[in-house]
């Protein structure tokens, strides 16, 4: 099983993440789409590292990225919570008070 298979899975993950990000109006679901995209990238990092020149750079990037994602989710969920408190919904289309 070569690099190709991993890249296909990564691309699928990425595409699903994009679709989720674009189509869902629930802010939590949008966040989940973002997670899918991040993990698609992590998968690619790890796959290229494994089938590349053997160093651990890719795995290191993936771990950083996971930590970053955790932090991001913490901030994003806080935002969503405040969004819900402020306007009573987490539908992203409703949060348009900055629209000109």
């Amino acid at each position: 099983m070569g690099l190709q298979a991993y890249l296909v899975v990564g691309a699928l993950l990425f595409s699903l993440g994009i679709v989720c990000l674009v189509t869902r109006r629930n802010a939590v679901a949008v966040l989940m789409g973002v997670e899918l995209i991040l993990n698609a990238a992590n998968l690619n990092f790890v796959a290229f590292a494994r089938f590349g020149y053997g160093a651990l750079d890719g795995q290191m990037f993936a771990i950083f990225s996971i930590v970053m994602a955790a932090a991001e989710v913490a901030v994003a969920l806080a935002l969503v919570l405040n969004l819900y408190r402020t306007i009573g919904t987490i539908d992203v289309d409703e949060a348009d008070t900055l629209r000109g």
Partner: protein
């Protein structure tokens, strides 16, 4: 006080200042500012009287006139030589007399006006106009050259226009005159004469190069008209044209009866001291210019006017109309007095006439005032359509002597004076004129016998119509209802005092102590010396003396003849209107042709209507047609062309320029509308676009 420029300047400036004050602030002054004008004119009178007194008693102008000249009043540099027009003041005995007459009559008439015009809405304006009139006349009298004379002459015309038309807010005034038309008629009719006058002035200037009286006479004496005596005669006749217009001589007399449209004090002012006297004064002032031939023409015009106007006055029923025609007649007297060579007599008659005619008009004004009051008291006013209740119609009067004794007495004195009854001023002056006329027409030039005959006939007619006026107005029974008669009142003191003063000046005592007036004893005989012709020679001196001698000889017969004429006239009037031997109604309704001709004033107005006026109207209509059709047509065509061009330009602007601009704007807007569809504000949309972009990039880069 020595005569000085200050005196004359004050005489001139006082009325002018009064006029300016009245025009600017008159309405806001107490009493409408009449006291400003009265003060000015009385002051001018006092100064004038001072001048006159020095001239009469001290012989101030015995050695020639007093002059003051501003030499460079107008300097005109021309390529050949520069010439100057001097402007100045000339005062001699004639001027001094005129000054007193003008300011004296004006002062009394102004005083009378305070009563007569009381309560009029434009009271202060009226006094302003009066002051302007007095000023104009003083300019004319004090002028030392023809140009200034002409300026004063025209100023008089303007102010008479203003005064005659003063009641312009009334469509008609009794008997049937429109004030607006009357003022225009007076202005235009006199203007016809003025054209001749101005041509005469220009001719004098063209030949002699001078305008000052003395210089002109000097130049003529030096032979400016040498070899062209006909030209000098022509110049004299042209100058006389002005007098024909201004002094209402036949055939330009038609304006004066209509000038009655002004308030009665205006009639007195115009007919006594000012406007009509201007023509006589001018002839007297320019006397040396007139050649014997010109003087004969003047004498004939005057004599015809005197007789002609007197016949009309006989049938007039409007009290002011009778007086108007009597004025024309008396002016004719003055003119033929000057024409036959009775120079002093003509100017003396100007003076006596000024006083008694002012008196007659003011007294008639007093009568009219009372009649208006009497009729108004029972709520009746003049009806312009039927002519009923006319306060000026003598047929509505009668027996007024009971109600208005002062007016009656003073007017009686004036009537005696104008008829030439002894012990009056008119007797003196009229006899001097008739004496001159008899000397001229019966003794010196028998071919001109018509002149004294017309004069005597006019004297008889004058006596007749004046006594007719007196009998119809003051004697007999009042012809209106009793309640109207009860409303008749004597006028207030402001009106009767001038009457009394003027009556006092209508008796003989002021002019000579000898009421039978042997020729030499009237002071004017020595005070006003007949000037020699400008072309004068020793022969003229001799002829003047011969004439004076002839006039002296003729004086007693002339006096008897004039007394006979006056007596006949008075007797006829007595029999007809007092005794009623000849019924008034029979005369009124008689279908006699003569009566109709007289009542229509010889159809002179109608003749002008059908000739001069009609011709003018034809020309005016032609001009109006030309103006309306040709000129207006051209202008309108140009205007239409402009409108067409503008329409085209408008179209181009609207569709060409505006279209381009709008197209650009529309395109920009459409583009913006298209692009803004993309800008949704939804991040998810942007992500889709970003992804699509990435995909497209992949497809390209691959």
């Amino acid at each position: 006080m020595e005569t000085s420029i200050v005196t004359y300047a004050l005489i001139l400036i006082l009325p002018l200042a009064a006029f300016i004050i009245q025009m600017l602030v008159g309405r806001r002054l107490p009493r409408g500012g009449d006291w400003v004008v009265l003060t000015a004119i009385f002051a001018a009178f006092v100064l004038s009287f001072g001048v006159f007194w020095r001239a009469l008693s001290g012989g101030a102008f015995a050695n020639g006139p007093w002059t003051w000249t501003f030499r460079d009043w107008l300097r005109t540099p021309t390529p050949q030589a520069s010439w100057t027009l001097p402007m100045g003041i000339l005062v001699d005995n004639v001027t001094a007399m005129m000054l007193v007459v003008v300011t004296g009559c004006s002062a009394l008439i102004f005083l009378f006006s305070t009563g007569y015009m009381a309560g009029h809405p434009r009271y202060s304006r009226f006094f302003g106009y009066l002051a302007l009139f007095a000023f104009s006349m003083l300019v004319l009298v004090l002028a030392d050259n023809l140009l200034a004379l002409y300026v004063g002459w025209e100023l008089v015309g303007v102010s008479s226009y203003l005064l005659i038309g003063f009641l312009h807010d009334r469509a008609l005034v009794p008997p049937d005159i429109s004030p607006g038309s009357a003022s225009k008629k007076a202005f235009i009719t006199t203007r016809i004469g003025d054209v001749g006058f101005f041509l005469g002035i220009l001719a004098v200037f063209a030949v002699t190069g001078q305008l000052g009286y003395g210089n002109v006479f000097q130049s003529i004496g030096d032979g400016a008209f040498m070899g062209r005596p006909w030209l000098l005669t022509l110049v004299g006749l042209l100058l006389f044209c002005g007098a024909i217009g201004k002094s209402a001589q036949f055939p330009l007399h038609v304006w004066l009866p209509d000038a009655m449209a002004g308030p009665t004090p205006v009639s007195a002012l115009i007919h006594a001291a000012t406007m009509v006297a201007a023509g006589v004064y001018m002839v007297g002032r320019l006397y040396p210019i007139f050649t014997p031939d010109a003087l004969v023409v003047i004498a004939y015009v005057g004599a015809i006017t005197a007789f002609f106007a007197a016949t009309i006055a006989v049938v007039m029923t409007d009290v002011k109309r009778v007086l108007a025609y009597s004025t024309i007649s008396q002016l004719g007297y003055m003119m033929f007095g000057l024409g036959v060579g009775a120079y002093g007599a003509g100017l003396f008659h100007l003076m006596t006439h000024a006083f008694f005619k002012a008196l007659l008009f003011l007294a008639s004004g007093s009568v009219i005032h009372a009649m208006e009051h009497g009729l108004g008291r029972v709520g009746r006013h003049w009806n312009p359509d039927t002519g009923e209740d006319d306060p000026q119609d003598m047929r509505n009067m009668g027996g007024l002597r009971h109600a208005m004794p002062i007016t009656f007495a003073t007017m009686g004195v004036a009537t005696l004076a104008i008829c030439g009854v002894p012990f009056t001023s008119g007797f003196l002056s009229k006899d001097m004129i008739l004496g001159g006329a008899v000397a001229f027409g019966f003794i010196e030039h028998p071919q001109h016998f018509l002149i004294p005959l017309l004069g005597l006939a006019a004297a008889a007619l004058t006596a007749f119509y004046m006594f007719r006026l007196m009998f119809m107005t003051f004697f007999g029974e009042f012809r209106k209802e009793r309640e109207v008669e009860h409303g008749l009142r004597e006028s207030p003191a402001s009106m009767t005092v001038p009457l009394v003063v003027l009556a006092i000046f209508s008796v003989w005592i002021w002019y000579t102590f000898d009421p039978s007036a042997a020729f030499r004893e009237v002071w004017t005989a020595e005070f006003i010396v007949k000037p020699l012709p400008a072309t004068g020679t020793l022969a003229d001196v001799a002829s003047n003396e011969a004439f004076a001698h002839a006039a002296h000889t003729a004086h007693i017969p002339a006096m008897l003849l004039s007394l006979l004429a006056a007596g006949a006239g008075i007797l006829l009037a007595w029999r007809k209107y007092r005794r009623g031997t000849i019924s008034l109604e029979a005369w009124r309704t008689s279908d006699s042709r003569l009566y109709r001709v007289l009542a229509n004033k010889y159809y002179v107005d109608e003749a002008y209507e059908h000739t001069a006026v009609a011709a003018t109207l034809v020309v005016s209509r032609a001009a109006a047609w030309f103006d309306k059709v040709i000129i207006d047509g051209l202008v309108n065509a140009v205007a239409r062309l402009q409108v067409g061009i503008s329409w085209l330009a408008g179209r181009a602007d609207k569709f060409g320029v505006d279209g381009a601009v709008n197209l650009l704007a529309d395109a920009v807007r459409a583009m913006g509308n298209g692009v803004r569809q993309v800008q949704t504000g939804r991040i998810q949309n942007y992500i889709v676009f970003a992804m699509m972009g990435i995909i497209i990039l992949f497809l390209i880069i691959r």
